[in-house]
Structures are given as structure tokens and as C-alpha cells.
């Protein structure tokens, strides 16, 4: 074998990556496309060789993560039979000795707390949706509601880490990082993977979030999500310091590039050329990011659709609008987080507020994407890290109750990107406690998301600590084909 046959056989990009030139010459496109002028490669997006594994139905993802875990009883899992059982003890035959959190494990009684809120059948499909979510009801025919998601963790930190990285313990790459690593980028001037955070009105201080949730774990850090902040500097260090004009900055970049080129002539290290490119990209981002976050060009009709909060930076409504703007610009993976869904107590009050925060903007996002023809190839997911208990935490009164963490079932919805619209999948028992039909493990859900993107979750692996590691863990999981078009 000689070198020529080798390069003929091997995917050139993969070879370069393996041999270490990767980031320097070709592969940097995963965070940002290189636009490498001399490259004859057609695949400048930075996708791994062999990807996508099959024809994708979704090119991009928006994950509307409801942090703190919204109750399924007040949102999507209609249990009218519970009304009659109000205040009665949850039968042991339902609970079957399953573990409880330290917060209610010592509770002497487990009285059933039916939802205080009514449900309405929505859309042609007649999907039961809580009256707390009237706008969501109007898009019922675009949604695939899954009532049978289950997880392994019972506390927030491990559970949310599990949803986003496939492991309860920190250190693994997040889903967006996997996608960026596998598929590369679709756009020239913006990050591939962006995260956005908003704080709910329902609970003063929600559960904290962690950088690791959009981190790259053991993947190179260029795959980590870029957090878009609501401050006047949406990306860290984006703004040129006071006292340096754009002209001065341009001059600096030219000087740096000129001297770097001189160094390259001496050392032939391609990393230097990459660095020159990165400085140019940084300069471009200084224009593209502010343009992205500037919503002044949006019509009143669009703004009204998202609701009044859209005028306040940092709100869920604003973030939903920004998500759409990013999708328009081909950001690959947009990860929203809305905090405050942890209703151990005062659930009726807090839940109403949380739903008010999110209902209208979530629905507006779906409609907006749809109207622009983007929903077809954009997958949207709405959901939290686990469910809530059917029994009351704390005192059950006429006006008030709370619910503890419940990992055994919860509800989410998906829309667009190749998912069947207007369906309900999975079923829980009469107590909303155990799944009786079509269980979907969090890793099945994640496998499904990857599947829509054209990725076989079993084949997107990276060797870490001797193991071929994947987003969906070591045990067998499958995409939920039943819900796919």
C-alpha cells in the first residue's frame, strides 16, 4: 500500500482528523464553517464521514426544556377519574414500594390530588389538553403528545443532566454537542449550538442550571453550546472594548493576520492559518450576533403572536422568537431552558404562572415556523426532566396542593421535523403513576431526536475511557418509529 492508495481509500477528512491536521486544515467547521477558500472539499460543514447515516427528516432542533419538571396532571395527562378519589390514599398496589425522594419518604399519608384545572379536547384529533394551556390547545393538530416518557433519576440535577447527556453523572457531552460533532454546521457566521435561559414567574428561584448541560464533555470544547445571554453582550466577549473603533479593530486584525502569515511561512504549521480564519470569524460574529438579537425588524403581527413578554429581553417569549430567528439562519441546535417548574407546593398558583409564561410563546413558535415553511425540517421538543406525583406533597386543601418528583412517567410533546402531527402516544394507568402502554425511556426519546436528524444513535460514538460512548448509554434503546412519519 502506498500513500496514494491510502488516501484514495480513506475519507480524506477523516484521515486528516485522525492524523491531527483536522482542526487546523479542515475540521474547524463544526463550530463555525471555515469557508476555507482553497479547499476542494464539498463537505465544508464539518460533518463526520458517513453522516448522516440516513436521510434526515429534520435539519435543525429546538428543545424547549422546562426545567424543574412540569406536572403531567395539569398539562397533558388527563385523569378525570381522580376527582372521585380526591384525598383518598394512593393504593400500595400502584406504588409497589417504589422509592420516593427524601422529601416525601417520611410523609405519613399519600392523599391523591386531582388536577384543579379542567381539560378540553383540542383540534381535529381531540387531544386532551389542560385549560392552563389554551394556546397550546390551538396547535394540538401539530403536536405529537407523548404521555409515557420515563427516566431513571429522581432529583433535578441528575435528572436534567440525564436528559441532556444520557448520563446522570456529569462529564458527558450534551445532545447539542453530539449533534454539532456529528453533523457539523449549516451556517457561516453563527454557532452551531446555542443555549438560551429564562426564569419563570411561578417560583421565585427555580432549580439552578449548569454549564455542563450544554457542555461538550469529553468532546473538544469547540462543540459546546454557546450561551446567548440577554445582557448587552449576548455572547461572552463579543463587544469591542470602549475606546477601540471598528476601524481600529479592523486594523488590528489585519496586522495580526499579516504577522501570523509571516510566521506560517517559517513554520508551516497549518494551525496558524486556522487561527487567522478564526479571527475573521470572530470579527464577522460581532456583526451577525447583534443582528440576530435585534428584533426591531419583526412585524407587529409576529410580535403580538408571541405575547407581551416578547418585548422583554431574557423572557421565554423573547427566547422563542430568537430561536425562530436562529433557525432561519440555520443554527443547528437551539436549546432553551425555562426555569421554575418545581411545584412541591402552591402548585395551582405557580403552575398557572409557569403556563402563562410558556403557553403562548411555545404555540407562537410552532405557528411561526409553520408559516415560514420551517417546521417541516425543524424538530421542536417541549418537556422537562421528570414528572410529578399523583399524591399530594404537604397539605391537600381545596385551594392548594403540591407534587413531589416522579420519574416513572411524564408527558412531553414534539412537533415538526418528521414527527407525526396530531397524535397522542403512550398511556399511563388511572393514577398517572405507571406506564401501561408504549413506554418511552429518555434515551429512546434522544435516539428518536437523533434519528430525525439522520443519525443512527448506535453509530455516533466516541471512544472514551476505553468504551465506545454514545448519547444514549450502554443499554439498548431505540427510536420510537411509531411516532415518525
Amino acid at each position: 500500500m502506498n500513500r496514494l492508495t491510502f488516501t484514495q481509500h480513506a475519507n480524506r477528512r477523516a484521515f486528516l482528523r485522525q492524523s491531527g491536521v483536522g482542526l487546523g486544515a479542515v475540521a474547524l467547521g463544526s463550530l463555525f464553517q471555515t469557508g476555507h477558500a482553497n479547499s476542494t472539499e464539498s463537505r465544508t460543514s464539518g460533518a463526520l464521514g458517513g453522516l448522516p447515516h440516513h436521510t434526515p427528516t429534520a435539519k435543525r432542533v429546538i428543545y424547549l426544556f422546562q426545567s424543574g419538571a412540569p406536572s403531567q396532571f395539569e398539562t397533558f395527562d388527563y385523569k378525570p377519574g381522580l376527582k372521585a378519589l380526591r384525598s383518598t390514599e394512593l393504593p400500595d398496589s400502584v406504588r409497589m414500594g417504589q422509592r420516593l425522594t427524601g422529601m416525601t419518604a417520611n410523609q405519613s399519608a399519600f392523599p391523591i390530588a386531582p388536577s384543579m384545572f379542567d381539560f378540553t379536547q383540542s383540534g381535529e384529533a381531540g387531544t386532551w389538553i389542560s385549560d392552563l394551556l389554551p394556546y397550546t390547545g390551538k396547535i394540538a393538530d401539530e403536536l405529537c403528545v407523548i404521555r409515557s416518557i420515563h427516566t431513571e433519576a429522581i432529583n433535578h440535577d441528575p435528572a436534567i443532566t440525564f436528559c441532556q447527556t444520557g448520563s446522570q453523572l456529569a462529564g458527558r457531552p450534551s445532545m447539542g454537542a453530539w449533534v454539532a460533532y456529528g453533523l457539523g454546521t449549516l451556517n457561516r457566521d453563527l454557532p452551531t449550538f446555542v443555549s438560551l435561559i429564562s426564569r419563570g414567574m411561578g417560583r421565585a428561584a427555580g432549580q439552578p442550571l449548569y454549564d455542563r448541560l450544554w457542555g461538550s464533555g469529553f468532546l473538544p470544547s469547540k462543540y459546546q453550546g454557546v450561551k446567548l445571554r440577554s445582557s448587552k453582550e449576548p455572547v461572552l466577549y463579543l463587544n469591542t472594548p470602549q475606546g477601540i473603533s471598528q476601524a481600529t479593530r479592523r486594523g488590528m486584525l489585519d496586522d495580526i493576520a499579516e504577522m501570523n502569515r509571516q510566521k506560517f511561512a517559517e513554520t508551516a504549521d497549518p494551525e496558524i492559518l486556522t487561527r487567522i480564519e478564526q479571527y475573521e470569524l470572530a470579527f464577522r460574529m460581532q456583526a451577525t450576533v447583534p443582528e440576530l438579537t435585534d428584533i426591531s425588524g419583526e412585524t407587529k403581527q409576529v410580535l403580538d403572536m408571541y405575547g407581551p413578554d416578547v418585548h422583554k429581553p431574557g423572557t421565554y417569549a423573547r427566547n422563542c422568537l430568537l430561536a425562530r430567528r436562529m433557525i432561519q439562519r440555520d443554527v443547528r441546535f437551539v436549546q432553551l431552558y425555562h426555569m421554575g417548574w418545581d411545584q412541591h407546593n402552591s402548585l395551582p398558583d405557580h403552575m398557572s404562572k409557569q403556563c402563562k409564561d410558556t403557553d403562548q410563546p411555545s404555540a407562537a413558535l410552532i405557528r411561526d415556523l409553520q408559516q415560514r415553511g420551517l417546521l417541516e425540517d425543524t424538530l421542536v421538543i417541549w418537556g422537562g426532566e421528570f414528572g410529578r406525583t399523583v399524591y399530594c406533597q404537604g397539605k391537600l386543601t381545596k385551594q392548594d396542593y403540591g407534587r413531589d418528583h416522579h420519574p416513572r412517567c411524564f408527558s412531553i410533546w414534539m412537533s415538526g421535523g418528521g414527527v407525526k402531527p396530531g397524535i397522542v402516544y403512550g398511556k399511563t394507568d388511572d393514577f398517572g403513576y405507571n406506564i401501561v402502554e408504549n413506554p418511552v425511556h429518555v434515551n429512546d426519546l434522544n435516539a428518536t431526536i437523533l434519528h430525525c436528524l439522520g443519525i443512527d444513535h448506535n453509530r455516533l460514538t466516541v471512544k472514551h475511557q476505553g468504551l465506545e460512548t454514545r448519547l444514549t448509554g450502554v443499554t439498548k434503546h431505540n427510536p420510537v418509529h411509531d411516532i415518525l412519519i
Binding site: Q18, M103, R229, T240, Y279, L281, M339, K395, E468, V474
Partner: protein, 1069 residues
């Protein structure tokens, strides 16, 4: 060194191609079939079998395939017995048939599996290996290293030490030549950055260039100086901190702050003292178990307390205790053995000979550490911990105690002379008893020898449930007659049911007499600890200060106030509290002896209900916080009482049994009254009391800042260890109790020694251990060449990379052990080699030839680490502080980052350090695991959550933005500008040459100088015409701005300095 993705390896056939490329065909492309070297099992065959076959036909006997066949391809006898391999006859070997088969039922690896089929090159290797006899070898890394003879080389004059012989022999095999030696300025810059993490000073550069001694000798002098400098230990520590997952926070949920800097200082000191690596390992793994362990040896055990700790309420203790220990197993294996043992947590290891049972035997070494899995909402260090007074601390405390004793004596003496009858306040009290109608409490619990409430209490008509489980209620005499004594145990408290039930919008007051016997306990509460401390209480702190809570959620939706004043120990005091229902901390007032206290507000963000699903308790909370002391005359009001009303209550109580005629009082009772009245006396008495209080406060403040560190300590009775089925904490296999032990593939532990951490540590560092020296040497090598001789420096198992220079690695490992595990000597050996000193400059063709520089035909060139990038810039800008050790610091970071994520929980705000602390080396930067410092992660520092042996090196626009715009670098540029200006008066060329040299250790070329001069000229014009912009630019950063030149000139130099700091060369070694 070149950019790389060290941990990311391709799994498809490219891997094998590259192996084939590197090892089978000679790199020059001159190899022919005839000259192919013999196939080497470890180098050529094991990677294929391990990657594609072992998962089913390997060490894991519980794999799915093992139900169908007992064929093992990791054991020769098994493979031969099954005729899968017929040595010498590839055609008859089932293995070859299977990998070549087109029949999906026959093909191996099976077509439906996640493992792709073998490519031609791999199959060819297998064929040749079988033809050559199919010899197996034990995995190279499990065979103890031996020092080989130095290989013969043709151009031996190039070599400087043994390293070069191995490297050159390999180069000659490949018909390559080493690169020339780098020039002196490059050498001194690289070696200084490599050994200390800082650039050389100009004087150091000049000294080396001007040294007339032979070059090698002069270079050795530099190396010796660097190894002796304290900055060496700091730089070494930075890497060890990463392996040890060191951080300043506990890592989960609210991610509370912890303080482990004492351990960090120990590490820096150990490296600087050149502590032998075996000792370094033993003290960290088991310093506490060493005979007569010193304080320093105990601090060293902080290594295995750096793991994350759970504080989230509601978590399950055993689950997280197990996770802590699994983390310790994985960290020990990764840091010392270079093994990825974690797979065996759930099942037998699929690649390396480690069974699941062996995993838990290893785990057993750590399973008796005296710790909890969940430290419910605890801030700061959690036990076991060591308090480490600094020099003079104990003496200071003793001085405080002496002074406090004197002050106390002073108070007593002054008090003895005091006649309460002269007090105006007493007259007031006396008048109050006579003139005012008595106040009607909502609930009144007199506790005068019985538990009944006063019949008219509207709140509660029944007798409260006395939960005196162990003891009957104890009654004591008191200032008011009788009192109930609480003995400070869990079962001793009074349950008042849900008699009083204020919410955050209800006004209330209470009044009670207490006599404290010991600090730290709750005398009244209605609080649910397990619901994030929902409810309200009054707690006595260790020093007698009172803390009042009104909580919805104890962390972030609560009022918490603490009195500055204390109640006395073993003396009666009256406590009164009023709350106005405003949901504000300012609505709380606390009285001690009817004197309004000064309150420190700790939390003031109550927004939701404080009603807890718990009874009112006198003597404790729902869990713990037991009060020890006596109480009497508890009264509750559903409104705010005035001071006068409080006084009226006191007066009434005092008058209670015997009236207010002091003449009839006993001397004891008079003495107590004297104290009470004394609080209102003013004059000398007040002065001496305040003096005493002030001293106590100072002592407490002083004591609280005496540092502590979390350490290892074993339980007296070991915890039993069982295999955990599927790795799950609540599925122990109790059929067999496991004894601590090491995997059977290794040499056994010393039989006479107890199976504990110390024996494990000694086993690890025994010279016969095949891995520890190799792993350590390899990691050190990685520091200088960008990656190790074994590229997968975190995996020396079957799935790891084979070494590029196996004999060199073994030679160094043996040398290292024989030198007494001498890290400085090892590093000196490396850097004085000709291999290290090669120039990194190459032609494009040479680069393409060996892009990763695995053959070492040139010097390494790679970007500096996150820590060094910043330290380098601070140093060049003349800002770096050289203070060694101490607590972590908080340099610049964009505001709001913590708050956005933590939501006010934990430690809500990042409070930037001041002065010198803004410019400390980056290893001292505070590490909050859930929100890593913004530039650290941008430049590839991990989040320090788990042990990591290696970092990737990326090149992204976010890095460009940080270096261009972060105030750290803008300020450093101004510092560099200042240094340029200061060097010479008014000579642009000299100034720019100087600045460039500060950053790169060399003079700029003519072409480079021209760029800089033009830049300066352009920027001078800009800022001369826009002085406002100049002033704005100079305002960045906290350091002072020099005035040697005008703002326009300084600004222009700052911009040019920014160019220099952003050069690829400046951030590359």
C-alpha cells in the same frame, strides 16, 4: 505540536489504516512486501481483536454472546481449541473465513452489530499473524518494564542522552533526520514555559544568550534554575489539580463553595520540594493511615475528597455515598494506573481482564471512609475535615481567651457593686405591674411545673403532647419560679400541635425566658427540615447569638436574621420577638432582656408561604437541632408588641411568685435580677459589658477564618462491601461479602499487611507495578511534546493506543523508579535531550509527512493551556502577582454569569477580587464546577468534575473574542505598552522591538517591525484626533495608568501591544 483531538479517535477502518500506515509500511513509503517486519501481536493484532471481537469473545463472561459460545479470542488456548485460529495455517482458521464471509450469518463481526466489518489491511494483518504462528503476548502495559540496551545509531554525535538514542534509532529506521537545534531564544522561552508555565524575563533570555559556557552546559544551568523556582511547583500542580478533579465548589445542585486550598498548597509544596512520586502518591491515597501521620500527611488525603459532594435535600444518602466511592475508584485507576476500570462497575470489563467482582474489591478500599452521601444543604467543607491553624493562630486565640476572661471578671466585679434598686428601669417595671392591665396572649404556656396551657389561651385548649421519650419532664427552679429543662436529645421536646400558625403576612410576637446550657439548638420551631426548611424558628448559635428564620425555601425564598448580641450561657435571659407581617427582614425585631438587638440580615427574599406541615415544637426542629437548657413562660401574641409591653411581661413574671419587694428576694434571685437590670443600667456597667461582647465577637471572627480542609478518615468498624448488581446502589449481592483487593492480573497485595488504603497505596508504588511509573512518565512526556509516547495517556488498557517508542517509555519508567521516583530529574533528562531541543520549524512537505510528529523528527509546537495563556499575558504585561499559595481568588469575569444559572442559590454573586488578587496565577482562580470561569473553558480547561488526564486543544472564534476583548487582555496590553514606553525615551523602533521581545523572547524581523511601526503610526493618528477614545481605552482594568506619555500615545501603544499579545506565536510554545 499540532492541533489534535486526542481523546476522539475514529473507530472505522481509518484507525487501522493509520496504524498500518505508521507501523507496517515505513513512513517514507519505501517499504515493500519483502521488508515488512514481523507482525507484532500487541502492536498490530490486539487493537483489531480488542476493538472488534472482545466485546463478545473477551473477558466479559456475561456478555450476550457467551450464552452461545465460550470462544474467547483474548485467550490463545480457547481460540486454538475452537480451531478459530490454526497457528501457521490461515486458510484453515475459522477466524479468517468469518471475517471474509459474505454470508450474513457467518460474517464476523456480525453485520447487524454496531461494529463495522474489517478492512483489507486488517484482514491481511490477521492472515500474516496466523501464518507466522499466531503468538499471543500479554498486553504490553501489564508486563513490568525492562530497560533495553541503548540502540545503535549511525549519527550518534547528535545524541545527548539515552532518549536521543531511542528516538534517533527510530528516525534512522524511517530514513529521517532530526531537525537542527532551536536557537537560544526559542529554547529558553520554550523550556521556561514548559517548566514554570511562565515566559522568561528579558534578563533571563539575555543571560542565556550571553552565557559563554558551551550551549548544553548553559542550557542545563537554565533548567536547574527553573526546576528550583517556586513557579515550577505551581505549574506542575495545575496538571495534578485536573487529575484530582480539584475545585472550589461541591459540584451538585446549588454547588456550594468549599475550601480545599490547603490541599492545593500541599501539592505545590510537594512538587517544589521534589517529593518522590511514590511518597506523593502514598500520602494522598492514605496519609491518614501512616504511622504517626503528620498534619501535612493528613492534608494530603484531601486528594480523595476533591470529588463532588451532594447537598440536595431529598437525595438518597447511600446512592451518593456509592457514587463518591466509584469516583474514587475511577480516579485512582485513571491517575495512577492509566486504566479505565469504570466499565467493570456494571459488568465484567469487555477489554481488560477486570471482573465486576474485582471492581468492587477495589472499591472496598474506599468503602469505609467516614462520610455521608448527602450533606443536606450544608455549605462549606463537610466532614471529616481538619482545622489547620496558621502560625500564630493558636496564640492569638489564647490571647483572646485571656482577654475575655479578664473582661468577664471585670463585668462580674462591676456587677457585684451594682445595686438594682438604683435602676430607673426597675422602677419602670415595678410601675408597669401596678398600673397596666395584664396582656392577653393568644397562647400561654407557663411551664411552672406542668405542661398545661393557661386555660384562656384561645389557641389551644388541650395539654400539649410532651414527647419526653427517654425522660420525664424535668422541672427546675428559675427566675420566674419553675422552668422546664430540655436535655438536648432527639426525643426530648414539647409538641404543641398546630396551635399557632402564622404565615408570612401575619403579625406576631412571642416572649419567653430561657437559660442556655449549650449553644446550637432550636428552642422554638414550626419547621419542616425535609421540605427545604419550610417554616419558622428561633435558633441559638454556638456562641449564643439568636438566629430567626421565616422560610418558604431555606435557600432562596426566606428571611434569615441573626443578632449581633448573645444570650448568656447558664444564666437566665428573656427573649422577645416581634414580626409585622411585612415579609421583610426589617419587619423582624428581637429583644434580649427587653433590649432591642442589632440584626444582621442574611436573607431577605421571602415571597411565599411559610406554613409548614409540622407541629410547633419547643426544643427542636422536625429533625435535629436539639436545644439544651431551660424555658419558661412562653407567650404568643397575634400582633406586634411594643417594648413597653415586653417590659410589662417581664415585670409581671418577675413579680409572679413573691411580688416585687426585693427585700424579700433570695440572694440568688437578686443576683439574677441584677444582671437583667444591668442590661439597662448604662454607665460603667454597660461599658464593661460591651467590651466583653466586642472581644467575644472578635474572637469568633478570628476563629471562623482559620482554614479547614476536607480529609480522609476511616470508620472504626469497616462497612461491609458487596458487589452491586448492574452497578446500582440498592442492589447489593449480599451472598458474598468482599474483601478489599486488587485485580488478579496484578501482583497480589502484601499478605501480612491489612487490606486498607495504605497497603493499596504501597502496592501502587511498588517498583514491580507495571503501570504507575509508565503512566506517570508518559504524562510528563506529554507536557513537553503535546502528547505522550502512549497517545491515550488515560488508557493503557487493550483499547488504548500502543506506544510510539515502547523501549523508550520502558527505559524512562525504569530510570524514573531507580532515581527514587525523582520528577525533577526525569524532566531534566527530557529537556536536555537533543530530541527536545530540536527546532519546530518544518517545511510543508515535512509536516504532511508526519503531521502529528509521532516520530519526533522536530520540536513540538502547540498552543498554551488555558492557565498559561492568561499567566503569560499577565506576565508580559507586567501585571502578574507572584504570591504563592493561599485561598482561591476571583479575577475578572463578566458579571451575572453565576446569577443567570444559580438563580440566587448557593453563592449567588461572583464578587471580583481586588488588588494583587486580580493578577494571581490562574491555578488560584476560583473554580465553581457548574459555572466554570468564562475564559478557562473557552481555552479547553475541563469543568473539573471528574479525573481527566488530557485536554483537547481547539482553535475557535470564541478564543479570538476573548483575547481581543476580555478586560484581562486589554489591561495586559496596556501593561505591555507601558513597559515599552518605559524602556527608552522616545524611540519607537526600540520600544516596539522591546515589546515584541517581551512576548516572544526574540527580536522582530524587519518585516514584522514594519507592520508594528505602521500600526503604531496609524493608531497614533487615530488617538491624537480622538482623545476621548484614548481615555476610554485606558480605563479598562483596575491597575493604575502611567503618565510617562500622554493618553493618545499610550493608547496607540496599547493597541499595538494588543496585536503582539494576539499573535499565534505569543500563545504558542
Amino acid at each position: 505540536m499540532f492541533p489534535q483531538i486526542p481523546i476522539v479517535r475514529m473507530t472505522d477502518f481509518v484507525t487501522a489504516c493509520c496504524l498500518a500506515l505508521c507501523f507496517c509500511m515505513a513512513l517514507g513509503g519505501h517499504a515493500s512486501e519483502q521488508s515488512l517486519p514481523t507482525v507484532d501481536f500487541n502492536r498490530d493484532i490486539r487493537p483489531i481483536l480488542s476493538d472488534r471481537c472482545f466485546a463478545c469473545h473477551g473477558p466479559d463472561r456475561n456478555s450476550e454472546a457467551s450464552e452461545l459460545t465460550d470462544l474467547r479470542l483474548d485467550v490463545r488456548e480457547s481460540a486454538v481449541e475452537h480451531e478459530t485460529i490454526v497457528p501457521g495455517d490461515a486458510k484453515s482458521s475459522e477466524l479468517l473465513k468469518r471475517v471474509l464471509s459474505d454470508d450474513p450469518d457467518e460474517l464476523m463481526p456480525p453485520g447487524d452489530s454496531q461494529t463495522p466489518r474489517l478492512n483489507e489491511q486488517q484482514i491481511e494483518l490477521l492472515r500474516r499473524w496466523i501464518e507466522e504462528g499466531a503468538e499471543y503476548q500479554m498486553l504490553w502495559s501489564f508486563i513490568p518494564p525492562q530497560q533495553a540496551e541503548l540502540p545503535q545509531t549511525q549519527s550518534a554525535e547528535w545524541t545527548k542522552n539515552a532518549i536521543d538514542h531511542f528516538v534517533l534509532a527510530r528516525l534512522e529506521e524511517e530514513r529521517l533526520r532530526p531537525s537542527p537545534r532551536a536557537d537560544r531564544q526559542t529554547l529558553v522561552r520554550q523550556v521556561t514555559l514548559d517548566l514554570t508555565g511562565l515566559p522568561p524575563t528579558l534578563a533571563e533570555v539575555k543571560d542565556f544568550i550571553n552565557d559563554r559556557a558551551p550551549l548544553q552546559q548553559a542550557f542545563e544551568k537554565v533548567v536547574d534554575r527553573l526546576l528550583a523556582s517556586p513557579q515550577y511547583g505551581e505549574h506542575m500542580a495545575a496538571e495534578w489539580l485536573q487529575l484530582a478533579r480539584f475545585a472550589d465548589s461541591n459540584g451538585y445542585q446549588n454547588d456550594f463553595r468549599r475550601s480545599m486550598w490547603l490541599w492545593r498548597d500541599w501539592v505545590i509544596g510537594a512538587f517544589n520540594d521534589n517529593m518522590p512520586f511514590d511518597q506523593f502518591a502514598v500520602e494522598q491515597m492514605a496519609g491518614d493511615l501512616l504511622p504517626k501521620a503528620s498534619q501535612s500527611q493528613i492534608i494530603a488525603t484531601g486528594f480523595h475528597r476533591n470529588n463532588r459532594t451532594v447537598t440536595e435535600s431529598g437525595s438518597i444518602d447511600e446512592e451518593w455515598r456509592v457514587e463518591n466511592n466509584i469516583d474514587r475508584v475511577e480516579t485512582t485507576a485513571a491517575a495512577f494506573l492509566g486504566l479505565t476500570i469504570g466499565c467493570a462497575r456494571c459488568h465484567d470489563h469487555k477489554y481488560d481482564p477486570i471482573t465486576q467482582k474485582e471492581f468492587y474489591q477495589f472499591y472496598a478500599f474506599f468503602n469505609s471512609i467516614d462520610e455521608k452521601g448527602v450533606y443536606g444543604e450544608t455549605r462549606g467543607n463537610v466532614g471529616p475535615k481538619l482545622r489547620v491553624p496558621r502560625v500564630g493562630d493558636e496564640q492569638r486565640l489564647a490571647e483572646f481567651d485571656t482577654k475575655i476572661n479578664q473582661a468577664e471578671q471585670n463585668v462580674l466585679e462591676t456587677l457585684a457593686k451594682f445595686d438594682p434598686r438604683e435602676s430607673d428601669w426597675l422602677d419602670k417595671l415595678r410601675a408597669a405591674v401596678v398600673s397596666k392591665p395584664s396582656l392577653q396572649p393568644y397562647l400561654h404556656l407557663p411551664l411552672q411545673g406542668g405542661l398545661e396551657v393557661t386555660p384562656s389561651s384561645p389557641a389551644y385548649s388541650q395539654v400539649p403532647v410532651a414527647r419526653f421519650l427517654a425522660d420525664a419532664p424535668k422541672w427546675k427552679n428559675s427566675l420566674t419560679g419553675k422552668s422546664l429543662r430540655l436535655v438536648g436529645r432527639s426525643g426530648t421536646y414539647l409538641d404543641l400541635g398546630k396551635s399557632i400558625n402564622p404565615d408570612r403576612d401575619s403579625a406576631f410576637s412571642y416572649s419567653v425566658w430561657i437559660r442556655l446550657e449549650r449553644g446550637n439548638g432550636t428552642f422554638i420551631s414550626r419547621m419542616d427540615d425535609s421540605a427545604n426548611f419550610r417554616g419558622w424558628d428561633t435558633l441559638v448559635l454556638e456562641d449564643g447569638r439568636l438566629q430567626v428564620h421565616l422560610n418558604h425555601h431555606g435557600d432562596d425564598n426566606a428571611i434569615a436574621v441573626t443578632t449581633e448580641e448573645s444570650i448568656p450561657l447558664d444564666r437566665w435571659a428573656h427573649v422577645g420577638l416581634t414580626y409585622d407581617g411585612s415579609s421583610l427582614a426589617s419587619g423582624v425585631v428581637v429583644f434580649i432582656n427587653c433590649k432591642r438587638t442589632t440584626l444582621q440580615v442574611e436573607k431577605d427574599n421571602l415571597k411565599d408561604t411559610i406554613v409548614a406541615n409540622q407541629p410547633v415544637r419547643i426544643g427542636r426542629r422536625s429533625n435535629g437541632s436539639f436545644f439544651r437548657g431551660a424555658v419558661s413562660e412562653f407567650r404568643w401574641f397575634k400582633r406586634v408588641l411594643t417594648v413597653e409591653e415586653m417590659e410589662q411581661l417581664i415585670a409581671g413574671d418577675l413579680a409572679q411568685p413573691q411580688g416585687f419587694e426585693l427585700e424579700s428576694w433570695s440572694e440568688t434571685r437578686l443576683a439574677l435580677l441584677r444582671e437583667l437590670v444591668a442590661d439597662h443600667a448604662g454607665g460603667e456597667l454597660q461599658a464593661v459589658k460591651e467590651a466583653e461582647a466586642e472581644l467575644r465577637k472578635q474572637r469568633k471572627e478570628f476563629d471562623s477564618q482559620i482554614p479547614t480542609v476536607m480529609i480522609l478518615k476511616d470508620l472504626e468498624t469497616p462497612r461491609p462491601t458487596y458487589l452491586l448488581k448492574r452497578g446500582v446502589y440498592d442492589a447489593p449481592d449480599e451472598s458474598e461479602q468482599l474483601r478489599p483487593d486488587v485485580p488478579a492480573m496484578f501482583a497480589a497485595l502484601e499478605a501480612e499487611e491489612p487490606p486498607n488504603r495504605l497497603t493499596l497505596a504501597r502496592w501502587l508504588t511498588d517498583p514491580t507495578n507495571p503501570l504507575v511509573a509508565r503512566v506517570t512518565v508518559n504524562r510528563i512526556w506529554q507536557r513537553f511534546f503535546g502528547h505522550g509516547i502512549v497517545k491515550s495517556s488515560d488508557d493503557f488498557g487493550a483499547q488504548g493506543d500502543p506506544p510510539s517508542h515502547p523501549k523508550l517509555l520502558d527505559w524512562l519508567a525504569v530510570e524514573f523508579v531507580e532515581s527514587g521516583w525523582n520528577l525533577k530529574e526525569l524532566q531534566k533528562l527530557i529537556v536536555v535531550s537533543a530530541t527536545y531541543q530540536q527546532s519546530s520549524a518544518v517545511t510543508e512537505a515535512e509536516f504532511r509527512h508526519d503531521p502529528e510528529n509521532r516520530l519526533l523528527a522536530r520540536g513540538a509546537r502547540f498552543r498554551l493551556s488555558a492557565e498559561v495563556i492568561r499567566d503569560n499575558a499577565l506576565s508580559i504585561g507586567g501585571l502578574l502577582s507572584k504570591t504563592l499559595g493561599g485561598p482561591s481568588v476571583k479575577p475578572y469575569q463578566p458579571s451575572g454569569l453565576w446569577k443567570e444559572l444559580a438563580g440566587g442559590a448557593g453563592e449567588p454573586d461572583y464578587v471580583q477580587s481586588e488588588g494583587d488578587d486580580l493578577y494571581r496565577r490562574s491555578l488560584y482562580t476560583n473554580r465553581k464546577r457548574t459555572v466554570p470561569h468564562s475564559t478557562m473553558s473557552t481555552f479547553d480547561a475541563p469543568s473539573f468534575e471528574i479525573c481527566q488526564a488530557k485536554r483537547s486543544i481547539t482553535n475557535t472564534p470564541l478564543q479570538a473574542l476573548a483575547l481581543l476583548n476580555d478586560v484581562t487582555y486589554v489591561e495586559a496590553a496596556r501593561g505591555l505598552a507601558q513597559r515599552m514606553i518605559n524602556i527608552v525615551s522616545d524611540n519607537q523602533v526600540e520600544r516596539l522591538r522591546h515589546g515584541f521581545r517581551l512576548a516572544t523572547a526574540r527580536w522582530p524581523t524587519e518585516k514584522e517591525l514594519k507592520v508594528l511601526l505602521l500600526a503604531l503610526d496609524r493608531n497614533l493618528k487615530t488617538y491624537q484626533s480622538d482623545s476621548a477614545a484614548a481615555n476610554e481605552l485606558l480605563e479598562h482594568g483596575e491597575s493604575s495608568v502611567g503618565d510617562a506619555v500622554g493618553p493618545a500615545e499610550l493608547a496607540a501603544y496599547t493597541v499595538v501591544a494588543g496585536v503582539i499579545l494576539n499573535l499565534d506565536e505569543t500563545i504558542t510554545r
